[in-house]
């Protein structure tokens, strides 16, 4: 090994702690440059809906998620996830109807206000659907939301009867940029 360099330009301290057990433990660093991921810099959130939401016929509608289960980096607000660490995120969402939707139904994740990934796309009687993807976020301005589309012929109401189980949105950083 040629050298170990620890550098910084702000005050404070860096502490590398050994495990509190005897023996040899080895952490191998990859031959790559990047941000080390630790629990403190990996945004994760989970939110769900606590009030029924009316969704108009044939209109892509942003789903509101009013209650947070957790939001480790304060990146979720106004039903929008805006991660503060650049990287690749696993995102998942589900929307359920209070009563059956008889007709077309889509669930989307929007990125920066426009369509990004489509999940469930069904043209039959249904009670909801899901969307899941991995998406890149720049850690500053990129944001994600869940939208649905239904063409049943009239307005439909989302279901929040079971709190966090039916209409929800969550995500986590899986690797930094």
């Amino acid at each position: 090994m040629s050298s170990v360099v620890i550098s910084g330009d702000t005050s404070g301290a860096i502490t590398l702690s050994a495990p509190a057990v005897s023996g040899t433990n080895t952490a191998t660093l990859p031959a790559a440059t990047g941000t080390v991921m630790v629990s403190g810099n990996m945004p994760a959130f989970s939110a769900y809906q606590t009030a029924n939401q009316s969704v108009s016929n044939a209109s892509y509608t942003k789903i509101t998620f009013t209650t947070e289960e957790f939001d480790t980096a304060n990146c979720f607000a106004s039903s929008r996830f805006t991660p503060t660490v650049a990287g690749y995120y696993q995102l998942n969402g589900q929307v359920q109807w209070l009563n059956a939707c008889v007709g077309r139904f889509l669930v989307h994740i929007h990125k920066n206000g426009t369509y990004y990934k489509r999940g469930t796309d069904i043209n039959a009687t249904n009670f909801g659907g899901v969307v899941s993807t991995i998406a890149y976020a720049n850690g500053t301005t990129d944001y994600f939301e869940v939208y649905v589309y239904q063409q049943s012929g009239g307005s439909l109401s989302t279901d929040n009867s079971y709190d966090q189980t039916v209409t929800w949105f969550n995500g986590i950083l899986v690797r930094t940029a």
Partner: protein
């Protein structure tokens, strides 16, 4: 409902697939609006027509 107002103006759109993105209605939390209108022959309804 915005969809109903559009169909009242253009009944021929009753069987149109609004999910395809040629005509997109959207609600970001402040009510329905026309986010995109790229129909090849029908003009986008005016605010007055939709009022």
């Amino acid at each position: 409902m915005l969809y109903d107002k559009i169909i009242a103006i253009y009944p021929e759109l009753a069987n149109f697939d609004f999910a395809k993105g040629v005509i997109t209605l959207q609600n970001d939390g402040n009510g329905d609006y026309i986010a995109k209108w790229e129909h090849p022959t029908l003009a986008k309804p005016t605010d007055e027509e939709l009022a």
